[in-house]
């Protein structure tokens, strides 16, 4: 029996077993490949999306448990219409390989929604679950601070 989920404002009826993780529904059934597979055990954060605005690891949320509206990186901003966070990311030239960046940005977006002027310690705590093997952390931190500043001045 198909389950209906709402992703980036659009309803989808998903005809897959109830235990399939949201990650693999997004990637393989809906072709929303911006959300990445990194570990499958919630230890790298590459698969981070929002459900009702909260950052979650989509590799750990079974289809039957999707409890609210899902937002992925594709729903967060687009190349022609970057979010303020994405703009800062580009300004700071953060991405190297780029593979973890969707998850990083979704995690940072959830942080800023909750805490519009995070301290370094707040950033550390919020971002600790998101791994980056290229080591883009210093520029990510700078981009989060710039976004917070920009949002406050706006």
């Amino acid at each position: 029996m198909a389950k209906r989920i709402r992703v980036n404002g659009q309803d989808h009826d998903i005809d897959l077993p109830p235990d399939v993780p949201l990650l693999w529904i997004l990637r393989d059934a809906l072709n929303l490949t911006g959300t990445k597979f990194g570990c499958g055990v919630a230890s790298c954060g590459a698969c981070t999306v929002h459900i009702d605005g909260k950052a979650v690891r989509s590799c750990q949320v079974a289809l039957e448990d999707v409890w609210g509206d899902v937002t992925t990186i594709e729903g967060h901003g687009k190349p022609q219409a970057l979010s303020s966070l994405q703009k800062s990311w580009v300004d700071h030239q953060v991405a190297q390989c780029g593979y973890c960046q969707s998850g990083q940005i979704m995690q940072a977006a959830a942080l800023l929604a909750e805490n519009p002027s995070p301290s370094d310690a707040d950033i550390d705590e919020a971002m600790a679950g998101n791994l980056c093997r290229c080591g883009t952390y210093p520029r990510m931190r700078a981009a989060i601070h710039s976004t917070a500043k920009m949002l406050q001045e706006a």
Binding site: G40, Q96, Q101, M140
Partner: protein, 745 residues
Amino acid sequence: MGRIKTFSRRAFVVGSVAVVGGVAFGGWKALKTPKNPLSPPDGAALNPWLIIDQRGITVIVPRAEMGQGIQTTLAALVAEELDVVLSDINVEHGPAAQAYFNSALVADRSYELALEEKPSGWATVMADAFPKVMSLQVTGGSTSTIDAFEKMRVAGATARETLLKAASHRLNIPISQLKTKDGQVISPDNSQIPYADLAEDAAQIDPPKSPRLKPSSEWRYLGKSQPRLDQDAKVTGTAEFGIDKRLDGLLFATIHMTPHFGGAIEKIDITTAETMAGVKKIVVWEDGFGVIATNTWLAMQASDAVEVIWSKGSAPDDTEAVFHAIEAAFNDKANVEMRNQGDVDKALSSGEVIERSYRAPFLAHATMEPMNATALFQNNRLDIWTGNQSPVLIRDACADALGLKKDQVVVHTPFMGGGFGRRGTVDFALPAAKLAKEMPATPIQVTWTREEDMRHDWYRPGSICHYRAKLENGHIAALDGKMSSPSPAAPVIKLATGFDLAPEDPTITEGSHDQPYAIDHFRVRGYAPQLGIPVGFWRSVGGSQNGFFHESMIDELAYEAGADPLEFRLKHIRPEHEPAAKALETVAEMANWTSKTPRGVGRGIAHVWSYGSSVAEVINIRENDGMIEITDVWIAADLGVILDPAIVEAQLTGAAIYGLSAAIQGEITFANGAVEQGNFPDYDALRMHNTPRFHVTLLQNNRRMGGAGEPGTPPAAPALANAIFNLTGKRLREMPFSKHIGFLT
């Protein structure tokens, strides 16, 4: 002074080629210009790096983008000379082809040559010809900008001159009265002809043999930080990695191969797995199996449900046995002797000899994007999409595995979610090719689980090092080093040549034998045990462990001599290579260097020459609740010629973080003939909260361009070990350090 290292390196190159047979240097194959592999449907390919058609300007960047910004920098080389706006350029990786051989791959990049602007001599001609004859289109070894620096500027410049000639013919105006600007030819009356309108005419004109290249003083893009061309795609999830390839009718697969290297399947039962949701097909090979399903996760679930008993492999059973075998190799004949000056044996036969031993573990690359490939087999043609560092090797291996001709295999190279050397092999492509052949006309995407990825790597080899040294009047009179580790070059040479050689492998000792220290009696030898564990190139290769060994030993000798670690290094380095001394002085100034640190604070310094670049790092740590907290890293790096400072800064920082992650916690261990670690909880890396602040200064005192992607890694581990000694008095001689001391995580 009987230095033999230069000749030894040649022996490595020439020896490998000689065995291939029939390949003659100096012959037509080495001199002939490879054919242009591009044939655009409309418009024109003016050379192998440039297509001009109605879409605009497309630059072929035949080095794969794995985060190092290479698409931006190589496109800038063409844009600079072609006179086009960098952000207007489309970039494509292009096909696998001999034309894209990497001429810098085996070039001599020792510090002695770094003060000469251009390489020269017969040895250089041969080092240049080897990758060409072997069609080595490789992204690795921190070579991409070095290889491209002249080639791609010439590509831009010849195209520009040919376009000017085409305009001159058309307008009947002499070239001297025409100008170019931002992708257009401008005539004296200020009318403009876009390059695209001239391209087909230009393609009929013989290009100039030696176009004028701009001197650096006229550069518009080069030498200045450019906005990377990949950023918008990478922040919006629209950048296409191999794992993101989507094709009509795509099926999703995973594989499970024997965890015992060289082992096979003893017994297998797929009956339960076959009936599971979404499963389309299970293919069983001698040493593993693949599951094809309608969804990657369903394939992984079914793979877990396959009941399989593996036979034992050929590798030693556990970590202890592995290192026992590595130690035992010191009894064999040395594989390489890359430096031997003075008379080390005589010098060490009297007086007080200081002996120290060090050890480094095996390491996985752990790229963020797990290994994967997507393949479509139809009409006797294989298309394969996979992030890779050597497309020609992949093409040839897939052709071989499927019984196809080379031109029946087309390799597509998308973005890589990290490479670090892992994607220079072909093992991640072959299962997809084989599964695709089982289901013709259906595209199959094979994604490895993280566990499969971590347990089937081509690991940075574990290594043991023994040093003996003697001090005289506060100076190192003699230094004798020997390192034993499986040869990371051997598997790649086997792939490229088809022969199972045990070549001289200078990477076993690089990072130690090639350091700019003036020591009268100086010898370094490498030993190469064969363990049956797959090993390969891991960011900075030999430098990743030997930089730690060498720069720890130097620190120990400074301590024994009662000298400041900076002053001790400068005293030995300055007579040998002035730019390296400058890098050390610069980093010391940045960090306000002192080894007399207040209580609770430790400082360490290290300098490693690698890939033609000089990198000095200072690390500051402090004690925090009985744990080590790294607060700051200062880097001063001399890369000779710097094309994009912001990208280089990112590479140096990232490389140091990669090195620190490994130094603190990276370790692959073995039990029951298999790798024990499987996922990030047991093979973690630095994260936001434990990454220190970085301060980077770039220098250009060397005249020859050095590499950027790797040289930041080697000094990180020794600078940290030296800081820990400075703080605690405890000398750590084995990585990872977290086995011996607590870190704030």
